[in-house]
């Protein structure tokens, strides 16, 4: 695939698909060189694609242009672990942890803690239903999520 011969949208779609394919397969969000190698593309083209996908709010990058968030997955360890299909994933928040289970369409176990008291909490998704206790709290209203998406 020649990135320069494709429309930006097509190339970015390929990059996004590779990011999500690797993440779902391994539980680890890939870096630009890994995506470039898989697509046999130039790493700078992939990094440019990452930037465009971040501008479109598909990805969130850190200062070194690595993926921090590929929602609902997290590129860095978090307090929200989702175990499904024998693979461990990090989610960005409890909302995204449920999103990982929904995306995978699989039974899952979600491990997190109450952010107030630190008590461990284990939830299960079984046969399409969630089993467990707790209250999901949205500290930031949806219209302001992207003011600071990492805090959100």
């Amino acid at each position: 695939v020649n990135a320069n011969a494709m429309s930006i949208d097509d190339f970015d779609f390929l990059v996004r698909r590779e990011v999500y394919d690797v993440t779902i397969r391994t539980g680890r969000v890939p870096a630009a060189p890994e995506v470039a190698s898989a697509l046999t593309e130039d790493v700078d083209d992939v990094r440019a694609s990452f930037a465009r996908l971040a501008a479109a709010r598909v990805l969130v990058l850190d200062d070194d242009r690595n993926i921090v968030m590929a929602a609902p997955f997290s590129g860095v360890p978090t307090l929200f672990t989702v175990l499904a299909n024998g693979i461990s994933y990090f989610a960005n928040c409890i909302w995204d942890a449920l999103g990982v289970a929904a995306m995978l369409q699989a039974d899952a176990r979600i491990e997190t803690t109450c952010d107030d008291c630190g008590t461990a909490s284990s939830l299960r998704v079984e046969n399409g239903a969630v089993v467990g206790d707790g209250i999901v709290h949205f500290a930031v209203p949806a219209r302001r999520w992207w003011d600071d998406i990492l805090f959100t």
């Binding site: 909302w95 449920l98 997190t112 107030d116 209250i135 709290h137 500290a139």
Partner: protein
């Protein structure tokens, strides 16, 4: 978005962080929306 043991924990966490209390919902509702 965080998970809390109860509404009481949400209230305490919000006060400790100096934040107005936000919206909350049950896990079952959140799970239903995750499929939307």
């Amino acid at each position: 978005m965080l998970l809390f043991r109860s509404e009481e924990h949400v209230e305490r966490w919000s006060a400790q962080h100096g934040l107005p209390r936000g919206a909350s919902m049950s896990l079952v509702t959140a799970w239903a929306l995750a499929h939307a």
